[in-house]
Symmetry: C2
């Protein structure tokens, strides 16, 4: 799956993943009205609204980017109907040829992580039958509980040809509370995590030179990104924090390797709520999905310009 | 809610929480047959099987213990139908007067943690209406992402009278990979987490002297428990690892305070899969829930004997 992701990045010339994190505040009123007309102002109505919203955006961006990253919290907040919208979104993205990174940040003691791994990277066995309940291609994981909380996912990913991204240095303001703490050996905690990622991925390196065990490193911390990049040369880095969280295209560069690969940049609000931004207000609520398309095109240009300034013009003769 | 939990522990003389972690391997064949007869060997069939299994056990233990702890991974592995069984289980436990600790180990960047907090400790607002989708009384949280990943839950818990338990030192074999790492100041990472727990709970101390911000400390690490206990005197400690994971009643003692309170011990497999153990085989599969009841009674005796050896005979004149 890591090779499918990388080949998609190359083909579409877009190291970009669109975060499908649909808060109701991002959903245009006419979409909500449509959903509520059928289901009322209920959890079912909210689930329908975010599904309709997602589908319209997916239709406008699937040809531009290799992957999407639905954040499961935004669905889980609406209970069962929200999670039904999550499942429909994953299935629809697969129909459109997109790689799906489930941003679930799970992790638990071994036997419990096995259950999560069955549910998300599946299969789960019931009697004599097998099912893939959530069926993402990648999931994000929290490593605080150590190796035995992560390895059941790595093992399942190996069996199903999927992958994981492990939190190393997250994009949020207080990520340093634990991740930047210096150990007595002079490493910081996120550096230990980065070393583990490289170690856990050693057995799954694909044709492009990257393993199925990737890492999450926030764009908001370029200094730490440089360090993490060096510690885990075979890990693909999923980079949140561009745009709405404040990082610029230049801030992203330390996450890339010399091959111009090695990182995929996420934008969520900046894409899916583009229609609410001054910059795209000409689209209005009814063309919200076209505003998202334009925002992807603009992001692609911004990132590729930064990459060109660092690595030369990719995709052209030099 | 922390006071409801503590008062329940006192009334039932049982610092015990039953972990409702229903793997299909724990469910007697006749229960699975019943469920599969209606729904087939499907996700729906699995969801029905674990719900029937849970309900029978809850009926036999609700008068003995103050709380249950469903581990959401065991439901999530069966997708939407599994999570429907989770919701039914939470609701049924509430009907039976039990405090429900959702073992979800969530945590994300601020706005995403807010969404999780709405979903689990909720309400979530839809149009002009409010819903409590999962509606646990407490949730467990992973602190690796720092303060802004935890505080949205603490805030929501304050608004809804609920609570949280934050991972400090987990019970699994490799929990030390990060949690036991020594910092340059000579603290270990779990000690930093313990200090944060005490700090984050300072504003929510109830009538029994404990805050709504508790901690998870595994029974399998009594030395670390002693340290953690001292660092967070106002935190209730949720203690996994007793029984199936190998810890004895004596190992639990460091988690308690001098008042004989301060800790609640979880057992999952040891209770819900009791009918499969040699010790309770006389019950057979058809009386599996009675085996669970007996296992709770035995656990209560074991733990109260250990507590009496340490704190004197509770509930009797000394």
């Amino acid at each position: 799956m890591i090779d499918k992701l990388i080949n998609g990045i190359k083909e579409k010339n877009a190291p970009i993943v669109v975060g499908l994190d649909p808060n109701l505040a991002f959903v245009p009123q006419f979409v909500k009205d449509t959903a509520f007309a059928s289901f009322g102002q209920t959890l079912e109505g909210a689930g329908e609204a975010i599904w309709l919203f997602n589908r319209a955006i997916i239709d406008q961006i699937y040809d531009l980017v290799p992957a999407v990253k639905p954040q499961i919290a935004m669905y889980e907040q609406f209970g069962i109907p929200g999670l039904e919208a999550f499942v429909k979104t994953v299935d629809y993205c697969h129909q459109k040829g997109l790689v799906v990174i489930g941003d679930v940040k799970r992790g638990d003691i071994g036997s419990t992580s096995e259950a999560y791994a069955r549910g998300h990277l599946g299969p789960v066995e019931i009697g004599g039958k097998s099912y893939f309940p959530f069926n993402e291609d990648f999931v994000t994981l929290n490593p605080y509980m150590g190796a035995d909380s992560v390895l059941p996912f790595v093992k399942m990913a190996g069996q199903t040809g999927k992958g994981v991204f492990i939190l190393v240095k997250t994009s949020n303001p207080s990520s340093g509370d634990f991740q930047d703490v210096e150990t007595k050996d002079g490493s910081r905690i996120f550096e230990l995590a980065a070393r583990k990622v490289e170690e856990w991925g050693a057995g799954s390196i694909g044709e492009n030179g990257y393993s199925s065990v990737g890492a999450v490193v926030g764009a908001t911390y370029p200094e730490q990104a440089k360090t993490a990049r060096a510690l885990m040369p075979h890990a693909y880095i999923l980079v949140p924090g561009y745009g709405a969280q404040g990082a610029s295209a230049q801030d992203l560069l330390p996450n890339f390797n010399e091959d111009g690969l090695g990182a995929i940049i996420n934008s969520s609000r900046g894409i899916i709520a583009a229609w609410k931004k001054e910059e795209y207000k000409e689209f209005g609520q009814y063309k919200f999905a076209l505003a998202s398309r334009q925002a992807v095109l603009d992001m692609k240009e911004d990132i590729n310009a930064a990459l060109a300034s660092r690595f030369g013009h990719k995709g052209e003769e030099k």
